[in-house]
């Protein structure tokens, strides 16, 4: 009909849509300017570092940059037999510069990662190359060490040709790509990362479970007690929040150590013999105890905020309709707290999976988590690309958990307050 297609005009004759846009333009600009600082802050402190982490984790330009001529010459080489003379020449020229600049050591280390025994071969070449004559470099190099006649070593160089690599990610799950380019597991006695991943998930899971079991009654009390008691209880819950994390962890160390207060108490009550005090610290037990206590408020608060909204008359209604208190609880009260349980568990699990300070201090060897390994590579081995790769794997894992949670429960059901 014509009246449907006709444009609606304002009293001044401007099309309504245009007029509306004009009217809202100012507000939109204002709104954007208000969020702009936050947006900028997020980009600078969150997006850029994550992007940088990613590029660092796959970055493999070092060897590529050190041997530019070699890789150019290697482009035509199929890798089946020993490379032709041009490759040898290019390698000699590249390496000469490196030796002159005293940066050959880095190349030696990097290529040794790729093929064991490469370091000594290269060191020998560094000494001998000074006396090289012009021409026929293939012969001269092969004379320096018989391993240069082995095509494996040349393949090892070629494998480092791409300027990016996923080897750090493979290393994160105790795998590597071998000389044939196949992805295989490292030998059994060197599989440390996989244990750490499993332990991290296990600790996070149990900490979440313990937190849930302890927080549920607390939150229920908080939500149902009269104001004057619940305020006091709330302060008790929040007090750890206001105390430094380090102080809390340190106080657990005082409590849990072998000559500590808890052990003294056990001995005093005769529960354990004085010469047989249980080890409660520097192992998983310590990590569990300390992390559960530290993360407890993160479970209590979402649960409390949900329970606060559940009318007490619902439980009464359940009972008046003939349900025993237990049935009324599981059929009426518990299902209504699920949004809070979801929020609390997700929060605690995600915090626990990346926890660092507490496991580092009370975890010992068997209680450290993947985050401690990341920190170790950042501070001690300075293998930042490996640390970045593991950090990103952790981040991906957290996102995956969030995704699964969304599929199972629905993020809309989360209630934080």
């Amino acid at each position: 009909m014509s009246s449907d297609t006709r444009k609606i005009l304002t009293t001044d004759g401007i099309p309504l849509e245009e007029s509306l846009k004009q009217a809202e333009k100012k507000n939109k600009i204002k709104a954007f300017l208000l969020v702009a600082p936050l947006l900028l802050f997020l980009i600078i402190t969150y997006m850029i570092p994550i992007g940088d982490m990613f590029s660092r984790s796959i970055d493999d330009k070092m060897v590529t940059n050190m041997l530019p001529k070699t890789y150019k010459a290697m482009e035509k080489w199929d890798g089946k037999e020993l490379p032709p003379e041009e490759v040898f020449e290019a390698f000699y020229l590249d390496y000469k510069i490196l030796v002159k600049n005293k940066t050959a050591g880095k190349l030696q280390t990097q290529l040794n990662y790729e093929k064991n025994g490469f370091k000594s071969v290269l060191k020998k070449l560094a000494r001998k190359q000074k006396k090289f004559e012009e021409g026929n470099y293939k012969e001269q190099i092969m004379k320096v060490h018989k391993r240069w006649r082995n095509v494996e070593y040349w393949r090892a160089i070629k494998r480092r040709a791409p300027s990016y690599t996923y080897s750090k990610y493979l290393k994160g799950v105790d795998m590597y790509s071998n000389e044939d380019g196949k992805i295989v597991q490292v030998s059994e006695d060197r599989r440390i990362h996989r244990i750490l991943w499993i332990r991290t998930v296990e600790v996070a899971f149990f900490v979440t479970l313990f937190c849930f079991l302890m927080a549920y009654p607390i939150a229920h009390l908080l939500a149902t007690l009269p104001m004057k008691y619940s305020n006091l209880l709330m302060i008790c819950v929040l007090l750890p929040f206001w105390t430094s994390l380090l102080v809390r962890t340190a106080s657990w160390m005082i409590l849990l150590q072998q000559q500590g207060i808890v052990n003294d108490f056990f001995v005093w009550t005769g529960l354990v013999a004085d010469d047989n005090r249980p080890e409660m610290m520097y192992n998983k037990t310590g990590t569990y105890v300390a992390m559960t206590q530290i993360l407890l408020p993160f479970m209590v608060l979402p649960l409390y905020s949900v329970m606060k909204t559940i009318s007490p008359s619902l439980m009464r209604a359940g009972k008046s309709l003939g349900a025993t208190p237990a049935v009324a609880f599981f059929k009426v009260y518990f299902p209504l707290t699920i949004p809070g349980i979801g929020a609390g568990c997700l929060l605690v699990f995600i915090l626990a999976i990346g926890y660092y300070i507490t496991p580092a201090l009370v975890g010992g060897a068997s209680g450290t988590l993947i985050s401690n390994q990341i920190a170790y590579h950042m501070k001690s081995t300075l293998d930042w690309s490996f640390a970045s790769a593991m950090g990103l794997m952790l981040l991906t894992g957290v996102l995956a958990i969030y995704w699964i949670y969304n599929k199972l429960v629905g993020v809309d059901n989360i209630k934080l307050g």
């Binding site: 619902l314 008046s320 349900a323 009324a328 299902p335």
Partner: protein
């Protein structure tokens, strides 16, 4: 089967929450089987506490409550078999209407077939057929209220308690729900104990009304008696509108008494005064005082009109009468009363029988 006169019995029940103040004092109340009894009173008068004690969510500090001659103080709420409709409906928000209604039947381990039959019947009773699969959040306030009523009745309880169930509804809906609940009560004959602070609701629905104040039942009687024959000045004041005169009895003799006011004297019906010299409050319903009465009445006074408020079907007139400037008249809207104008002096008359001399305020 004869109806038991004391199907629900409160026997000398006291209740205190803090050991200092009695919220309910020496409550004695018998409720007949199948009766609709309303507990009416201002907030804090103890009526909800009484209901909670009957439901089992509070325990009496002293005394005993009997249900069908059995003491129930030691029976937990879920074993009492008493249905309850809550103020905010208390429907389970995570269950459909069907699941809400099936809940009391499921915990009684009924067969699925019986459950479906009973739920359908209950939904039909509150005219909500076809709403079984809705969630409570998708229903309007009135519909939620009906589901709550149906849920309280679906398991055939002996007694249904209703705690201000219509408080959250708007005026029109409230009125139609009042009739609906009344009709449901009449058709199934369940005993209902209803709590409200709305006197109109109480008068409309109840067989008997217990007026609560200060933890005590002030009067327990049928709605008409309560309105026409209040036994004390609180009830007279609380139920309906009321004109009062404070004074002192000067003479008392067979069925009438003279009450001396600050200005003048009136003849009244002695209800709670015994002898001359007693202080008293005389209460007269606005509709019992007439302008220029045709029949002879034993009280005739002149009053000055101070305010006239038009109400459509009637006009409210505020007079200054015998020193009481808050004397209200309700004048039916007819062409006769044309001299009702601000400032006019008019003659007012009423029968001494309708002027009840009650306890002093």
């Amino acid at each position: 089967m004869s109806k038991k006169a004391d199907f629900v019995k409160f026997d000398k029940v006291d209740k205190s929450y803090d050991g200092k103040v009695l919220v309910v004092k020496d409550l004695n109340l018998d409720i007949e089987e199948g009766e609709f009894v309303t507990m009416l009173g201002p907030s804090g008068s103890g009526k909800t506490t009484c209901l909670m004690m009957l439901a089992g969510f509070e325990t009496p500090t002293n005394g005993e409550i009997f249900l069908d001659n059995n003491p129930i103080s030691n029976i937990p709420p879920h074993k009492r078999g008493i249905g309850m409709v809550f103020q905010n409906y208390a429907l389970f928000p995570h269950m459909t209407v069907f699941e809400n209604l099936a809940f009391p039947l499921k915990v009684r381990k009924m067969s699925q077939e019986d459950i479906e039959k009973k739920v359908d019947k209950a939904l039909a009773m509150v005219s909500l057929d076809g709403f079984a699969n809705r969630m409570p959040g998708q229903l309007s306030g009135g519909q939620q209220q009906r589901v709550a009523v149906a849920r309280a009745l679906v398991f055939d309880p002996a007694v249904v308690l209703m705690d201000e169930p219509l408080g959250a509804l708007d005026k029109n809906l409230r009125e139609s729900m009042q009739y609906e609940i009344k009709h449901i009560h009449e058709s199934i004959g369940v005993t209902v104990v209803y709590v409200t602070h709305d006197q109109g609701e109480a008068l409309t629905m109840s067989n008997r009304i217990a007026v609560f104040n200060d933890g005590k039942v002030q009067q327990l009687s049928s709605p008409d008696k309560l309105y026409e024959e209040p036994v004390n000045s609180f009830v007279a004041e609380f139920i309906g509108e009321n004109n009062t005169f404070g004074g002192e009895v000067s003479e008392i003799s067979n069925g009438t008494c003279k009450v001396k006011l600050e200005k003048g004297e009136i003849i009244a019906n002695p209800i709670s005064v015994k002898s001359a010299g007693d202080k008293t409050t005389v209460s007269i319903r606005p509709e019992r005082a007439l302008i220029n009465p045709k029949d002879k009445m034993d009280n005739n006074q002149k009053g000055k009109i101070e305010e006239v408020i038009y109400h459509g079907d009637h006009t409210r007139v505020r007079l200054n009468l015998l020193g009481n400037s808050e004397f209200i008249l309700k004048v039916p809207n007819s062409s006769q009363n044309l001299d009702i104008k601000l400032g006019n002096e008019i003659n007012i008359g009423w029968n001494s029988h309708d002027a009840r001399a009650l306890d002093p305020k």
